[in-house]
Subunit: 120 residues, 2 copies
DNA sequence: TCCATATATCCAGAATAATGGAAATTAGTT
DNA sequence: AACTAATTTCCATTATTCTGGATATATGGA
């Protein structure tokens, strides 16, 4: 996780429509939501949503997979975890060893595709 | 932590100079660094640095305190922690109980003013 | 008070990002 | 092939952000 990737992820999330979209996708893991339905749910035109999804996708925060005519988007929590770790890395006075246990526990929290499905 | 505050914090960090500045301040806790020295270290004019510090400050990520003629800036990790929690809140399929233990452990990691000082 | 230092504010130009209409692409259906 | 549906790309307009010179404000010293 370098500076450039971190900035891309932070910038992708630092916009109302995209943050809302990402959080919606996070809470709809692992089912995902189609691009058109996202546009309808958030209340923006489909081309605007497409542009935002492209930004999120380029930052690695979401992945799209075609299912017949729709493209189902899903949140990818790996980058979110990496950004969190990157920002916390220098925490606690630069002494990483104090944060290491925390970071170790953060890592297994959200591995993709292994989360229990609670509801859709 | 609402959407607006989260976006402000993410946007503040989603810029190369500010991310670098913030990380520098994080690793220099709890001593802090004067505005002018930050400008010199990062390599930007003082008024540009001042504008960036203002953005970080408005997002609650740094605090400035005047010491004689200088204003010493320090990272405030509370907001960083809150943003992290906000982003992780919907993790794990929307089942907060799975993330709650993690979140509980994240909270005491970086309380301000209680971090051990390793070096300046 | 006068001067030097440190930081912030004002302002304007340049760069970047957001938005959405129109058209193009991709996939399924008949 | 012709048609519909879903999504994306193209493009131009508008809005926002970044940057830094010039100026203003605040502090301490002579």
């Amino acid at each position: 996780m370098d500076n450039t990737k971190t900035i891309a992820a932070l910038a992708a999330l630092a916009q109302a429509t995209r943050l809302e979209t990402f959080r919606l996708l996070v809470s709809n893991e692992p089912d995902g939501i189609a691009a058109g339905e996202l546009a309808r749910l958030i209340g923006v035109p489909s081309n605007t949503m497409s542009a935002h999804l492209s930004t999120l996708s380029q930052a690695g925060l979401v992945k799209g997979e075609r299912h017949s005519r729709s493209i189902i988007y899903r949140a990818d929590l790996d980058v979110l975890r990496d950004v969190t770790l990157y920002l916390l890395k220098d925490c606690c006075g630069g002494n990483a060893s104090l944060c290491a246990p925390l970071i170790d526990e953060l890592s297994p929290c959200c591995p993709p595709n292994t989360r229990p499905q609670v509801d859709a």
